[in-house]
C-alpha cells in the first residue's frame, strides 16, 4: 500500500488536494455506507515553486452551464482542432490562437503534469492592495506603545504601492485623513451609533464632494482613488506621515473611572472600516486589520457592559442563555462580515488581552472573509509581534503570501455533486447541475468566495456520489473534479488557478479492498473533524460527540475485521489503524470540548482548525510529543502520560502551544546548575536541543504558538498534562505500578478505555 501513500503524497504536492477516498465507490448507496463522506481538503493556493503561471487566459467549455476549463483529461482531436469537455462532453473548437496545436505541440494545460495550472489574466485595471488598520486605543501604555511600533514596522513591510488607511477607536472612532500636511486630520464618529454605509460615506465626504470635483476634472476614472485618497494613501507617499501619526497616537483620553472598563467602540469602528472600503474600493483586495485589546463595551456589537463587576460571558452563561449581548453582537458582526465578504474584503482580528475580547461574537468577521484571527495576552509579546510580522512574509518569488477576493468554483463529472465546503469562505449561491441537495458545511452552491487566503488556507470540500446503483460506472471509469480559483494575487494580478483531478470508480461490493486501501485516514480524520467542529458551532457539544462516536463505530463496523460479539477479535487494517486514535484526541480537543476554555478561546481554536492544512490540522487534533534524553537522539513518543519521565525532556507541539517540559530529575539538575559546569556540557546540550527544535517550529508556524518552557511540577505543566492520554490517573496509579510517568488527575477516559469500548460497540450487533 505504500504506493497509495506515495500517490496521496504526490497528489498533495502537485494539486494541494487530499481526498478521504482515493478510489471512489461508484454508487450513492455504497458511498453512504462508507461512513466517511467522499471529500477532500483543498489548498487552493498551495505553493508551487515549480509552477510558473502561464500568461494567457484559459480556454472554456462553450456550454454556458459548464464552462469547464480545458485540462489534461479532455479528449482532443488535434486534426479537427476540437476538444471534448470531460465534464459535459460538449465538443468545443479551439480558439484561433491554438491553430498550431498538435500531439507534439501541446499547450501546457493539456499536459498531465499540469493538472494544476495557473493563468494570469491581463484584462482589467489592477488595483493596489489595501490595508486598513483599525486600532484600539483603550490599551495600557506599554501595550499601545508596542502596538504602535509593530504597526510602524509593518509599514516597511507593505508593498510600496499599497494603499493604507488608519482608523482608531476607543470611546469614539476616528478615521484618519492621511493626505494632509501639517495638521493631522481625522473624522470622528460616536461609538454608540451604528451608521449605514451611505451615512458613513456622506459623513466622510466621500459622496458629495466628489460631485464638484467631477465637474472640475473630466478624468472620471481618476475620480475614485482621488476621493478616497484622503483616507487611503499609497504607502510610499505617506510613509513618514503615517509613521508620525502612529507615533503620536494617544491612549483614549476619556477617563475610565474605577470599576469600569474603558468604553470601546469596536462594533462601530469595524462598521466604519467596512463602510469606508465598501464605498471606495468594492471588489478589490483589501484587508481590514483590527487590533483590539479588550471587549467592545458600547454601541452596536458590544459584548459586555462597562461595569467591571459584571464579567464577560462564559460558556456557562451561554449555556444558561445568560449572555445578554451575545446574540445582538453576533448579529451585528455577521452582518458586517457578510457585507465585507460581498465586497471581497477581509477582516483580520488581532486580539491581545488577558481577558476575553469578544472573539466569539466577532469570529465570523474573520471566518467568513478569510481573515486572520490572532489571540494573545498582550501586544507587547513576541507572540503578537512575530505573528504580525509573519503576515507580511514573502514567498520565493518575493511576493506576499496573501491573495484576495478569490472565487472558488467546483465542477464535477456527472456521477458527483458537490455538497458543501468548510473553511474561510462564504457561499456565492451559485446553483448549477453539480450542486447537491444535501448540504455538508456551506452548501447549496458550486462557488464560494474566499476574500483572503494564503498558501496554507485549506478548505474541506464535500461531495456526494449521485450515481445510482443500477447505473454502474463502466469499468475503469474515472470521475473528475475541477477546482477553479480566481483570485487577486498579491502582485495585484488577477489569476486563475485550475486544478483538475480524476479518481477511479470502484464497485464497493466487488472491490471494497481497493477502496479500503485507498482510504486516507489522515484526511478523513481532518475532514470528519471539520464536520464535527462545523456542527459544534450550531449544536450542543454532547450531540456532536455522540455523532462523531456513531460515525466512528459505524466505520469500524464497516471496515473492521472481527467476530461478532468478540471485542478481542477486532482488528483494523493499516489504512484505518490510526483513525480511532485521532477521534479519541479530537474528542478531547478544545475544538469540541469547551470545558476550561473561554468562548473566545474556543472560537479562536476553531477558527484555525477550519483553515489550516492537513498536517497542521492533525497536529491540532493530536499534538506531537518528542522526547529528549541521554539515551539517544530525540524521538517521537506516545502522547501519553507514560511518556512523562523524570529523566526526559519533552517537547510538545499542539499547534497553538509549544511546550518544553523538563522531567523531574532534569529540572533538579538544571536547578543545581550542572549545565553551567564544563564537565556537564552534554547536559547543556540536552537542554538546548528542544529549544532549538522549538525555535524551528516557531519560525514556520503562523500564528506564532504560545511558547511555554516549564518543568515538572510547574504550573504551566498543565498544558502538557491536559493533552496527554491519561493512561495513568489517580484511579489506576497503583495498578500501574512503579515504572512510568506521571499520573494525571482526571476522570477522563484514557485511550485504552476508549478503544475497549469502541471494540465492544463495533463488534456488538446491537447497533
Amino acid at each position: 500500500m505504500a504506493t497509495y501513500l506515495e500517490f496521496i503524497q504526490q497528489n498533495e504536492e502537485r494539486d494541494g488536494v487530499r481526498f478521504s477516498w482515493n478510489v471512489w465507490p461508484s454508487s450513492r448507496l455504497e458511498a453512504t455506507r462508507m461512513v466517511v463522506p467522499l471529500a477532500c481538503l483543498l489548498t487552493p493556493l498551495k505553493e508551487r515553486p515549480d509552477l510558473p503561471p502561464v500568461q494567457y487566459e484559459p480556454v472554456l467549455c462553450s456550454r454556458t452551464t459548464c464552462k469547464a476549463i480545458l485540462n489534461p483529461l479532455c479528449q482532443v482531436d488535434y486534426r479537427a482542432k476540437l476538444w471534448a469537455c470531460n465534464f459535459c462532453f460538449q465538443r468545443n473548437q479551439f480558439p484561433p490562437a491554438y491553430t498550431g496545436i498538435s500531439e507534439v505541440n501541446q499547450p501546457a494545460e493539456l499536459m498531465p503534469q499540469f493538472s494544476t495550472i495557473e493563468y494570469v489574466i491581463q484584462r482589467g485595471a489592477q488595483s493596489p492592495l489595501i490595508f486598513l488598520y483599525v486600532v484600539d486605543t483603550c490599551l495600557e501604555e506599554d501595550d499601545l506603545q508596542a502596538l504602535k511600533e509593530s504597526l510602524q514596522m509593518s509599514l516597511s513591510l507593505l508593498p510600496p504601492d499599497a494603499l493604507v488607511g488608519l482608523i482608531t477607536f476607543g470611546r469614539m472612532v476616528q478615521v484618519h485623513e492621511l493626505s494632509c500636511e501639517g495638521i493631522s486630520k481625522s473624522y470622528v464618529f460616536r461609538g454608540t451609533k451604528d451608521l449605514t454605509a451611505k451615512q458613513i460615506q456622506d459623513m466622510l465626504g466621500l459622496t458629495k464632494p466628489a460631485m464638484p470635483m467631477q465637474q472640475a476634472r473630466p478624468g472620471q476614472p481618476q475620480e475614485q482613488p482621488f476621493v478616497s485618497g484622503r483616507f487611503l494613501q499609497p504607502i510610499h507617499k505617506i510613509d513618514m506621515n503615517l509613521t508620525d501619526l502612529l507615533g503620536e497616537l494617544q491612549r483614549d483620553p476619556w477617563p475610565v473611572t474605577q470599576g469600569k472598563r474603558p468604553l470601546r467602540s469596536t462594533g462601530v469602528a469595524l462598521s466604519i472600516a467596512v463602510g469606508l472600503l465598501e464605498g471606495t474600493f468594492p471588489n478589490t483586495g483589501a484587508r481590514i486589520m483590527l487590533f483590539t485589546g479588550g471587549p467592545p463595551t458600547q454601541g452596536p456589537g458590544m459584548v459586555v457592559g462597562d461595569e467591571l463587576k459584571v464579567p464577560i460571558r462564559s460558556w456557562h452563561d451561554i449555556e444558561k442563555d445568560n449572555a445578554r449581548f451575545m446574540k445582538k453582537a453576533t448579529k451585528h458582526y455577521e452582518m458586517l462580515a457578510n457585507r465585507t465578504a460581498t465586497n471581497g474584503h477581509c477582516i483580520d482580528i488581532y486580539a491581545c488581552a488577558l481577558d476575553q475580547t469578544g472573539l466569539l461574537e466577532m469570529k465570523c468577521c474573520a471566518n467568513l472573509t478569510g481573515g486572520h484571527m490572532v489571540m494573545g495576552d498582550s501586544f507587547n509579546t513576541s507572540l503578537f509581534k512575530q505573528t504580525f510580522q509573519r503576515i507580511f512574509s514573502k514567498d520565493f518569488n518575493g511576493d506576499f503570501r496573501m491573495a484576495f477576493g478569490a472565487t472558488l468554483e467546483v465542477k464535477t463529472s456527472r456521477e458527483l455533486k458537490v455538497a458543501g465546503a468548510i473553511g474561510p469562505c462564504v457561499s456565492l449561491n451559485v446553483k448549477g447541475p453539480c450542486v447537491s441537495e444535501n448540504e455538508l458545511g456551506v452548501g447549496g452552491t458550486s462557488q464560494w468566495k474566499i476574500c483572503g487566503l494564503d498558501p496554507t488556507s485549506t478548505l474541506g470540500i464535500y461531495f456526494e456520489v449521485v450515481n445510482q446503483h443500477n447505473a454502474p460506472v463502466p469499468q475503469g471509469g474515472r470521475g473528475a473534479i475541477q477546482f477553479v480559483t480566481q483570485y487577486q494575487h498579491s502582485s495585484t494580478q488577477r489569476r486563475i488557478r485550475v486544478t483538475t483531478i480524476a479518481r477511479n470508480w470502484a464497485d464497493a461490493q466487488s472491490q471494497l479492498r481497493h477502496i479500503e486501501a485507498a482510504f486516507d485516514q489522515e484526511a478523513a480524520a481532518v475532514l470528519m473533524a471539520r464536520l464535527g467542529v462545523f456542527r459544534a458551532e450550531s449544536e450542543e457539544g454532547p450531540d456532536v460527540l455522540r455523532w462523531l462516536d456513531r460515525q466512528l463505530i459505524r466505520l469500524c463496523q464497516k471496515f473492521g475485521q472481527y467476530n461478532k460479539e468478540d471485542p478481542t477479535s477486532f482488528r483494523l487494517s493499516d489504512s484505518f489503524s490510526l483513525y480511532p486514535q485521532f477521534m479519541f484526541h479530537l474528542r478531547r480537543s478544545p475544538f469540541l470540548q469547551v470545558f476550561n476554555n473561554s468562548p473566545d478561546e474556543s472560537s479562536y481554536y476553531r477558527h484555525h482548525f477550519a483553515r489550516q492544512d492537513l498536517t497542521q490540522s492533525l497536529i491540532m487534533i493530536q499534538p506531537i510529543l518528542y522526547s529528549y534524553s541521554f539515551q539517544g537522539p530525540p524521538e517521537p513518543v506516545l502522547l501519553d502520560s507514560s511518556s512523562i519521565l523524570a529523566d526526559r525532556i519533552l517537547l510538545m507541539d499542539t499547534f497553538f502551544q509549544i511546550v518544553i517540559y523538563l522531567g523531574e530529575t532534569i529540572a533538579q539538575w538544571r536547578k543545581a546548575g550542572y549545565q553551567d559546569m564544563p564537565e556537564y556540557e552534554n547536559f547543556k546540550h540536552l537542554l538546548q536541543a528542544p529549544l532549538d527544535d522549538a525555535q524551528e517550529i516557531l519560525q514556520a508556524r503562523f500564528p506564532m504558538p504560545r511558547y511555554i518552557n516549564t518543568e515538572h511540577g510547574g504550573s504551566q505543566a498543565r498544558f502538557l498534562l491536559s493533552k496527554v492520554n491519561p493512561s495513568q490517573t489517580h484511579n489506576n496509579l497503583y495498578a500501574w505500578g512503579q515504572e512510568t510517568g506521571a499520573p494525571i488527575l482526571t476522570d477522563d477516559v484514557s485511550l485504552q478505555v476508549f478503544m475497549d469500548h469502541l471494540k465492544k460497540l463495533a463488534v456488538s450487533s446491537a447497533c
Binding site: 469614539m172 476616528q174 485623513e177 495638521i183 470622528v188 464618529f189 464638484p212 503620536e248 483620553p253
Partner: protein
C-alpha cells in the same frame, strides 16, 4: 419728600414744582371748554389720513416750506385746503389755517427751523453759563408764575408747557409727522385755540413773561419763565437753578437774536434754555398768535436749515408762531444741568431713597450702605405704599440691575467676605443674606431679618456686642454690615453637584465656509487670536488666566482641534454626525494657553491655509453650540463659546433654518413672527447650555438674511452677546470687529450664575428682562454674566409697604469667577415709601423708566402687533403724566401740559423709543437689524439706553480747539446743525461725523487732509492722522467716545447733502423720521392730547 425738601432750598419752588403747567395758557383752558377739543379731536382722527398725506407733500415741499414764509397768505389757501380736514381750527383761523399750511411744509422744515435756535443757543449758552443766578431764577419764577397767571401757581411748574397751545400750532407741523394720525388732530385744535389766543393772549403772556424780563414775550419769553419756575421747584436744586439760568439767559439770547429780529430774540432764548423754559415759551408762543409768525419763519428756516447762515433771517419769522422746539424740555439741558449740579460731589449712598445723578453725569460713588447706582438704578426711589397708588400712578416700579458692573478706577470693587466653612450668614426663613439693614436685637444674640422680619439666632462665631445705638460694634469692620455691595465666598453647598467648580473655559468656534474665508474673516480672526489669548480675563493679581481655551472650526461639519502641549502639531478631528453632536476628544481640547502656545499658534497659522480653497457654502449652527456645550460638559466646567458665523444655517442638521424674511409682514399681525425664533430647537438647546453654565457669544458676519431672531436665541438665554457685522470686509470692518472681540474676550465674566432678588414684604419681583433664562419665577439663571449685562426687574405690590421702614431690595448673585471661585455678590438698596403720589413723581428717574419701558415694549413685540405695543406705551406714558397732572400738579387749565420735573424728558425719550427701528422700522432697516437691536436693548443698562435712544450730537468746531473738555452736546435735530460746522453723533452703536457743506476750508484741510469739501470721501471710516490741533482733538474725542461704550463704534463720515446723510438723519430723533416717526414737537402735542383725554 424728605430728600426733596432738604434739597430744594427754595420752598416756593416746591409748590411750583408739582405743577408742570407747561401750558399756562389759560387760552387752552379756554379752548377746551369752548371748542370742546375732545370732539374736535375725534373729528380729526378722521382727517388723520389726510394728514399723513399732507406730510408727504410736506416733504416734497420742504423747499416750498421756504416759500411758505414768503407768502403766508398765499399758502393759506393751500393750507386751508389741507386744513379743510382740520375743520375746527379753520373756523376761527381761516387765516391761521393758512399759517398752518405753511407749517406743514414747515414741519419738515421744523427740523431745520430748530437749527436756527440751536445756532443761537450755543452762543447764548456761553453767556448764560454764568448768568444763572438764583436771584434771577426766583425772579423769573415769579415772573413765570405771573405769566402763568392763568394758573399762577401751576404754571410755575417746571415744564408747564404753555406750548400745548403752542402745540396746536405745532400741530401744523405735525402733519408732517403724518404717522401720528392723532397728532394732527391734537394739533389742529390747539392751533385754532392757539390762534385764538394769539389774538388775545399774546399780550397776556408776553406781559407776564416780559415782566420777567423777556423782551420778546411773544416768542416764549413768558412761557420760559413760567416753565423754569416750576421746573426749578420741582427738581429741587439742580432743576431750578439750571432752568433758571436758562431763563436768565433767555433774555440775553433775546438780546442777541434781537439783532436778527424781534421774533428772533425769543427764538434764541429757547435754545439757551434748551431745556424747559424755552420749550415752554415756545409752546406758548405757538399757542399764541405767534403761530403765524413762526410759520413763515419756519418756512424760511426750513430751507434755511441747510444753510445756517440764512437762519437769522428766518428765525425772525419763526419764533412767534408755533411750538418752539427750544421751548420744550431739552434732554441736553437736563443732562448739562445734572452734570453741573451733581457731577462735582461724590454720591454718598448712605441715605435711603436718594435719587442718584443721571447716568450721563460723571460722579463718584461712596458706598455707605446702599448699592451704587452703577449696580442698581430704580425707576423711582420713593415707591407708593399701596398697590392702589401704584396702579393709579402707572409708574412702573423697576430696578435695572447690573450685578457685575465695572467701576471706575477710583471706586473699589466689592470686598470679598470669607465666612469660612459656615458660609454666609442668612435669614433662616427667607434666606436673605446678612446686610446692613438687618437689626441686631437681644444684645446682639439675635437678628431680625429686614426682609421678612424673622428673628434668627446669631451663630456664636459671629456674635458681637452692640453699642448704645443698637449697632454692632464691629459694624464698620464688616463689609456685610456697612456696605451696600460686597461678596461672600461661597461654600461647597453653593456649588453644582456639591463640587467646587473647575476654572471655566473659552471655546472659539469659527465658521470656515466659503463666505468666511473669502471675506478674510478667518485669517484676520486667527491672526488676532494669537495675541488675544494672552489677555484672557484673570482674577485679581493672578499671573495668568485660569481659563482654558479650545478651538473648533466648522462649515457643515465640525472640526475639533487637539492642541495638547505635548503634540508637535495640532490634530484636527472632524465630526460629520451633526444630527447627533458629540465631542470627539477630551484631553487636549481645552488647554492652558501658555502651556500649549506653540501648538495653538501653529493651529491658528494653519486654519486659514487649510480652508483656503474651500468651496463649502453651507453651514450648521445648532450643532456647533451643542458641541461647545458638550465639550464643557465633558470637561465638567462652565465657560463661554465665541461663535463666528456667517450665514443662514441651511445644511441638513438640527436647527436648520429657512429664509423666511418677509417685509410684507411689517405692520401686520404677523409681524411678531419676525422676532420669534423659527424653531423651538434653539430654546431647548439654550436650556441645556444654561444647565451647563455655557454662555454663547455670537459674532455674525452676514451678507444677507441670517435670521438673527433665531440665531440669537441661545446667546440671549445664556447671557451672551450678539455682534453683527453686515457685509463684513476686512478693510472696512476689521478695526471694529477686532476691538469688539478684544473687549469681549477680555471682559470679566461670571459663569454659571443664579441671581435672586429679594424684597421686603409688600413688594415682590415679578418680571425680569434681560439676557438670561428662568426655569421658575424667581431665579434668574445666567450661564454667563459680564460687566455689561443688565437685568431689569419689575416689582409689584403684594401688600402694603410701610413709610417708616421703606422698601429694601437685595440682589444676590451666585457665580463662578474667572478663576473658578464660587462667589456670592450681594447688592442692597433701600428705597423710600410714600403715601403721597407727589413723592413718587419727585423721585423718579426717567432714564431708568425708559430703559424699562423699552425693554417691556421690545419684549411685547414678540407677542403683540407692533402697533399695539406702541399704543400701550403711549397710553401708559399718558396715564403716568395724567395722574401727575391730576394728583400732584396744582390746578391749572387743561390746556397746559404739565410735566413732573423728573419726567419732563419722558415724552421726548418715549418718542425715541417709539420710533426706534424695532417699533417703527424704516424701509432700509432689515429684519435682521431689528431683531439684532431688539436683542441688544434687552440687556442694556440705563446709560446705554439713554444714548441709544437719544443720540449725542456734538459740535466739533464750535468750541475753541484748545478746550480740553468734551463740547456740549446739542439736540438731535437737523435744525441744530449748522452747515458751517462739523458734528459727531453717537448712540453707542454708531458714530457719524457730519460735515456741513460750507465748512471752512481750513477745517477740512486740517481734518481730512483734502483741500475742499467736495474732495472728502463720503463714507470714510477713518480720519487721517494729522498733526494739527483740530485733527488731534477730533480723533481724541472719537477715541474717548469709543472708550465709553461697550461696543466699538465705526466711524462714518457723512457729508451734508450726500446720500449717506439719510442714514445720519435717521438718528436725529427730534425730527420726524422718514419711516413716519413723529418729531418731538408733534409727539409732545400728541401726548398732551392724550393726557387731556384722560383727564377729561
Amino acid at each position: 419728600m424728605n430728600v426733596n425738601q432738604s434739597a430744594p432750598p427754595v420752598p416756593p419752588f416746591g409748590q411750583p414744582q408739582p405743577v408742570y403747567t407747561g401750558y399756562h395758557q389759560s387760552s387752552y383752558g379756554g379752548q377746551p371748554g369752548s371748542t370742546a377739543p375732545p370732539t374736535p379731536y375725534g373729528a380729526y382722527n378722521g382727517p388723520v389720513p389726510g394728514y399723513q398725506q399732507t406730510p408727504l407733500p410736506g416733504v416734497s415741499r420742504a423747499p416750498p416750506s421756504s416759500e411758505a414764509p414768503p407768502v403766508s397768505t398765499a399758502q393759506a389757501p393751500c393750507g386751508q385746503a389741507a386744513y379743510g380736514q382740520f375743520g375746527q381750527g379753520d373756523v376761527q383761523n381761516g387765516p391761521s389755517s393758512t399759517v398752518q399750511m405753511q407749517r406743514f411744509p414747515g414741519s419738515q422744515p421744523f427740523g431745520s427751523v430748530p437749527l436756527a435756535p440751536v445756532v443761537s443757543q450755543p452762543t447764548v449758552l456761553q453767556p448764560y453759563g454764568p448768568p444763572p443766578t438764583s436771584a434771577q431764577v426766583t425772579a423769573q419764577l415769579a415772573g413765570m408764575q405771573i405769566g402763568g397767571a392763568v394758573a399762577p401757581a401751576l404754571p410755575p411748574v417746571r415744564l408747564g408747557y404753555g406750548p400745548p397751545t403752542s402745540l396746536a400750532p405745532a400741530s401744523g407741523s405735525y402733519p408732517n409727522s403724518g404717522l401720528y394720525g392723532s397728532y394732527p388732530q391734537g394739533q389742529a385744535p390747539p392751533l385754532s385755540q392757539a390762534q385764538g389766543h394769539l389774538g388775545a393772549q399774546p399780550p397776556q403772556r408776553s406781559a407776564p413773561p416780559q415782566a420777567s424780563g423777556f423782551t420778546s414775550p411773544a416768542s416764549g419769553g413768558p412761557p420760559m419763565p413760567s416753565v423754569t419756575g416750576p421746573l426749578l421747584p420741582g427738581q429741587g436744586f439742580g432743576g431750578p437753578s439750571v432752568s433758571q439760568p436758562n431763563h436768565v439767559s433767555s433774555p440775553p439770547p433775546q438780546a442777541l437774536p434781537p439783532g436778527t429780529q424781534m421774533t428772533g430774540p425769543p427764538g434764541p432764548p429757547p435754545p439757551m434754555h434748551s431745556s424747559q423754559q424755552p420749550g415752554y415759551q415756545l409752546q406758548q408762543n405757538g399757542s399764541f398768535g405767534p403761530a403765524r409768525g413762526p410759520q413763515p419763519n419756519y418756512g424760511s428756516p426750513y430751507p434755511g436749515a441747510p444753510t445756517f447762515g440764512s437762519q437769522p433771517g428766518p428765525p425772525q419769522p419763526l419764533p412767534p408762531k408755533r411750538l418752539d422746539p427750544d421751548a420744550i424740555p431739552s434732554p441736553i439741558q437736563v443732562i448739562e444741568d445734572d452734570r453741573n449740579n451733581r457731577g462735582s460731589e461724590p454720591f454718598v449712598t448712605g441715605v435711603r431713597g436718594q435719587v442718584p445723578p443721571l447716568v450721563t453725569t460723571n460722579f463718584l460713588v461712596k458706598d455707605q450702605g446702599n448699592a451704587s447706582p452703577r449696580y442698581i438704578r430704580c425707576t423711582s426711589y420713593n415707591i407708593p405704599c399701596t398697590s392702589d397708588m401704584a396702579k393709579q400712578a402707572q409708574v412702573p416700579l423697576a430696578a435695572v440691575i447690573k450685578p457685575l458692573a465695572r467701576l471706575p478706577p477710583e471706586e473699589a470693587s466689592p470686598y470679598v467676605v470669607d465666612h469660612g466653612e459656615s458660609g454666609p450668614l442668612r435669614c433662616n426663613r427667607c434666606k436673605a443674606y446678612m446686610c446692613p439693614f438687618m437689626q441686631f436685637v437681644e444684645g446682639g444674640r439675635r437678628f431680625q431679618c429686614c426682609f421678612c422680619s424673622c428673628i434668627n439666632d446669631v451663630p456664636p462665631q459671629y456674635f458681637q456686642h452692640l453699642d448704645h445705638t443698637g449697632k454692632r460694634v464691629d459694624a464698620y469692620d464688616r463689609p456685610e454690615l456697612s456696605l451696600g455691595s460686597y461678596e461672600f465666598l461661597a461654600t461647597v453647598d453653593y456649588c453644582k453637584n456639591n463640587k467646587f467648580p473647575s476654572p471655566p473655559a473659552f471655546i472659539f468656534m469659527i465658521d470656515v465656509s466659503y463666505n468666511a474665508i473669502r471675506s478674510g474673516l478667518v485669517r484676520l480672526l486667527c491672526e488676532e487670536l494669537k495675541s488675544l489669548l494672552d489677555f484672557l480675563p484673570r482674577e485679581g493679581g493672578a499671573e495668568e488666566s485660569a481659563i482654558r481655551v479650545g478651538f473648533v472650526t466648522y462649515n457643515k461639519v465640525l472640526h475639533f482641534y487637539n492642541v495638547k502641549s505635548s503634540l508637535a502639531q495640532p490634530q484636527m478631528m472632524v465630526v460629520s454626525d451633526v444630527a447627533d453632536m458629540f465631542v470627539p476628544l477630551l484631553d487636549g481640547f481645552l488647554v492652558n494657553v501658555s502651556e500649549s502656545r506653540a501648538v495653538i499658534t501653529s493651529l491658528l497659522d494653519q486654519i486659514p491655509e487649510m480652508f483656503a480653497d474651500t468651496r463649502e457654502t453651507e453651514t450648521v449652527f445648532a450643532p456647533v453650540i451643542q458641541a461647545g456645550m458638550e465639550a464643557l460638559k465633558a470637561a465638567e466646567c462652565a465657560g463661554k463659546l465665541f461663535l463666528f458665523h456667517t450665514s443662514l444655517p441651511i445644511a441638513e442638521a438640527p436647527g436648520k433654518l429657512k429664509n423666511r424674511d418677509d417685509r410684507k409682514l411689517i405692520n401686520t399681525d404677523k409681524e411678531k413672527t419676525l422676532f420669534q425664533p423659527q424653531t423651538g430647537a434653539y430654546q431647548t438647546l439654550a436650556k441645556e447650555c444654561v444647565a451647563q453654565g455655557c454662555s454663547v457669544d455670537l459674532f455674525l458676519f452676514p451678507n444677507q438674511y441670517v435670521d438673527v431672531a433665531t440665531l440669537s436665541v441661545v446667546p440671549q438665554l445664556t447671557g451672551g452677546s450678539v455682534y453683527k457685522y453686515a457685509c463684513f470686509q476686512v478693510e472696512n470692518d476689521q478695526e471694529r470687529f477686532l476691538s469688539d472681540l478684544r473687549r469681549d474676550v477680555q471682559k470679566v465674566v461670571g459663569f454659571d450664575a443664579v441671581m435672586r432678588v429679594r424684597t421686603s414684604t409688600g413688594i415682590r419681583a415679578v418680571d425680569f428682562f434681560g439676557a438670561f433664562y428662568m426655569s421658575n419665577t424667581t431665579d434668574v439663571e445666567l450661564a454667563g454674566l459680564d460687566g455689561d449685562k443688565t437685568v431689569t426687574v419689575e416689582f409689584k405690590h403684594d401688600d402694603r409697604l410701610n413709610e417708616e421702614s421703606g422698601a429694601l431690595l437685595q440682589c444676590a448673585l451666585l457665580y463662578t469667577s474667572c478663576a473658578g471661585q464660587r462667589r456670592l455678590r450681594i447688592h442692597n438698596l433701600a428705597l423710600n415709601c410714600c403715601t403721597q403720589l407727589a413723592d413718587l413723581y419727585r423721585n423718579c428717574e426717567t432714564d431708568t423708566l425708559i430703559n424699562y419701558m423699552a425693554k417691556f415694549a421690545y419684549r411685547g413685540v414678540l407677542n403683540s402687533p407692533v402697533k399695539t405695543v406702541r399704543d400701550t406705551l403711549i397710553t401708559q406714558c399718558a396715564q403716568i403724566l395724567a395722574c401727575y397732572r391730576k394728583n400732584c400738579a396744582s390746578p391749572s387749565s387743561a390746556g397746559q401740559l404739565i410735566l413732573p420735573e423728573c419726567m419732563k424728558l419722558l415724552p421726548v425719550y418715549l418718542n425715541c423709543v417709539l420710533k426706534s427701528d424695532v417699533l417703527q422700522p424704516g424701509a432700509e432697516v432689515t429684519t435682521d437689524d431689528r431683531a439684532y437691536v431688539r436683542q441688544l436693548v434687552t440687556s442694556m443698562d440705563v446709560a446705554e439706553t439713554n444714548v441709544f435712544f437719544y443720540p449725542r450730537l456734538l459740535p466739533l468746531t464750535k468750541s475753541p480747539i484748545e478746550s480740553a473738555t468734551e463740547p456740549p452736546a446739542v439736540r438731535a435735530s437737523e435744525e441744530r446743525l449748522s452747515n458751517g460746522d462739523i458734528y459727531l453723533l453717537e448712540n453707542g452703536l454708531n458714530l457719524f461725523l457730519w460735515v456741513g457743506a460750507s465748512v471752512q476750508q481750513g477745517v477740512v484741510q486740517s481734518l481730512f487732509s483734502v483741500s475742499s469739501f467736495s474732495q472728502i470721501t463720503s463714507g470714510l471710516s477713518v480720519l487721517p492722522v494729522l498733526d494739527n490741533p483740530l485733527s488731534k482733538k477730533v480723533r481724541g474725542l472719537i477715541d474717548s467716545l469709543r472708550a465709553q461704550r461697550s461696543r466699538y463704534m465705526k466711524l462714518i463720515v457723512v457729508k451734508q447733502e450726500d446720500k449717506l446723510e439719510m442714514l445720519f438723519k435717521h438718528f436725529l430723533v427730534e425730527d420726524k423720521s422718514l419711516s413716519g416717526g413723529a418729531s418731538y414737537v408733534d409727539f409732545l402735542c400728541h401726548m398732551h392730547k392724550e393726557i387731556r383725554q384722560l383727564l377729561s
